[in-house]
């Protein structure tokens, strides 16, 4: 981690009280690790819903340095209690599966919209001095009209998840603007790395690709594999969250994350196979329920956060993927129990 903390104020979070929703999840647990390095007083909230990203294995090394509170962000009383006296909220809990949002739209709404409103109402009532960083998503932009996609790109969600995440994001900005509860949003692109859900594709398709490689099964690419995407290694994403939290310049603002390296899915599969020293991929037709919500090529313009907060991704895709494969080869037993 050390080299990536260089441009952070490394003592900023020292002794600060920090709540992370989705704290046992992929990004939340990596963020918790970085914050404990700064000796922040970290509480992790997670529902541990089996279909979601929370996994106690993600914080096995941190158990004695953080407080873990198992509860659901849909529980307004628990959240109101937990939010008291916190200096920071990194609000990462969410339902992330696009397909699940279509089959169970009300669950997605309850988590990604209604619970966000409860959290903000709780802050308004009991802790309006808190600073919030909200994890939003590039999914809001839908199928890009132009590339790279900057923050001015029209918003055009293609699934229920995108609509509900948008409402959740905008509640944050609204509470910043109307009530002065300092809040910023980061629109994350594909984030990958140790701790991501690899059981299935609910969080990122990269998870299931990593698992396939390790299980010696072919990677399945939907369509022709020419769709291009950008990726952030989780440490870069964590750094963006931290510097966004540090700065009051970020209040009321939305920033894209992204990477200057974008790559087609076919090239990505080939790169992963090279790094894995073996493996295969195959093209399969788009399942119809995925085709209707597919967004084609996507990569971000992240110059706004670069300019304002000095953030840049530092980990090459090659390096990040290698670390990820090493991690899951060593830790597969913690992430899936039985091969497919």
């Amino acid at each position: 981690m050390s080299i990536f903390l260089r441009w952070l104020n490394v003592n900023h979070y020292s002794d600060k009280r920090v709540l992370i929703t989705g704290g046992l999840g992929f990004i939340g647990s990596n963020l918790a690790r970085a914050l404990t390095l700064q000796r922040a007083r970290v509480t992790l909230v997670d529902s541990l819903i089996p279909q979601y990203g929370g996994n106690l294995a993600n914080v096995a090394d941190l158990r004695d340095r953080v407080t873990i509170n198992i509860c659901d962000v849909r529980d307004p009383f628990a959240m109101e209690h937990l939010l008291q006296d916190q200096d920071y909220l990194f609000n990462l809990a969410g339902q992330t599966s696009h397909l699940d949002s279509m089959s169970e739209p009300h669950v997605d709404l309850d988590i990604n919209s209604a619970a966000q409103l409860s959290i903000l109402e709780a802050c308004r009532k009991v802790n309006s001095a808190i600073k919030i960083v909200f994890a939003s998503t590039r999914q809001l932009y839908g199928k890009p009209e132009y590339l790279p996609v900057d923050e001015k790109h029209p918003i055009r969600p293609v699934d229920v998840n995108g609509i509900n995440k948008l409402a959740g994001e905008w509640y944050h900005l609204l509470y910043n603007n109307v009530y002065g509860i300092r809040a910023s949003a980061l629109r994350l692109t594909n984030t990958y790395g140790p701790g991501m859900r690899v059981k299935d594709a609910r969080q990122t398709f990269l998870g299931i690709w990593v698992r396939s490689l390790i299980e010696n099964r072919p990677i399945k690419i939907f369509g022709n594999g020419l769709q291009r995407r950008d990726f952030n290694y989780v440490d870069d994403c964590v750094n963006a969250l931290l510097i966004c939290g540090e700065s009051d310049l970020s209040n009321g603002k939305i920033y894209n994350l992204g990477s200057a390296e974008f790559i087609s899915l076919k090239d990505l599969a080939e790169l992963m196979i090279e790094l894995n020293h073996g493996g295969q991929f195959e093209f399969i037709p788009f399942p119809p329920e995925r085709k209707v919500i597919d967004i084609g090529d996507y990569y971000s313009d992240f110059s706004f956060i670069e300019r304002e907060l000095g953030w840049q991704p530092r980990v090459d895709l090659r390096v990040g993927l290698e670390r990820t494969l090493v991690y899951y080869r060593a830790n597969r037993a913690k992430y899936w129990t039985k091969d497919l």
Copy 2:
């Protein structure tokens, strides 16, 4: 009504089954009247929540020509039953008060977002052949970046109501795009006329202005009265709903309504006083809770619906306001019981 039906296919809705949510409200009741003229089979759904727009007096003349079903759009079982076998849904029910959306944000979310999702899910399950026209709002645009505001203007809601209405609107387009449930949205500007809520400013400030004039109290203008707005007389709004429902060209589309006549609030107050043959206005400072959500000047570019569906507003502001004042002078007892 007759002259305004000229460019409609006057028999289009004849014998069709039409459900109107918010059917006892201002626009819903006027729409019901127009549909019964075409001998449509109309069912009105309304919750009759006292703070909202439903009022049985609005349909006193229609009682034997429509079916009235009192229930809340938040009741998914009632809605699923009522949506079966309908040919059209004019989906007008909503929480409209900007201030109430800030003081009770979850109520606004439940009505303007969650219930809309339930309605669409019910259509998907029991009646995917239905055609839906959804009443949305220019409130989604927030404080205009340019005038007149067209449909490409960035979306930037300034209150909880705007965010939730946006989610409600987009669910409709999403279900159109993904499931082929034909749906269109009209972004209404200030609509006025007989049947509007005049008890208070929950639906439109014009209501309370009309009431003030009739009670011989001064009209209260927030700020300096230079804010400009556009207005649609309710018959024009009803016609837009009808032609939008008639056409499959409108599927999956969003159209602004609006008027070529825009006017400052001060000039509007003067016009109303002239038409009322008497009255006064006074400037009062913006209440702080209104100031933070005020949007300044607003008027729409409605050329998209003009071009595609041939809609234009036909009722001059002067004519519409005169009819409105005549109506409320004659019917005040049905709309408020005790003078302020």
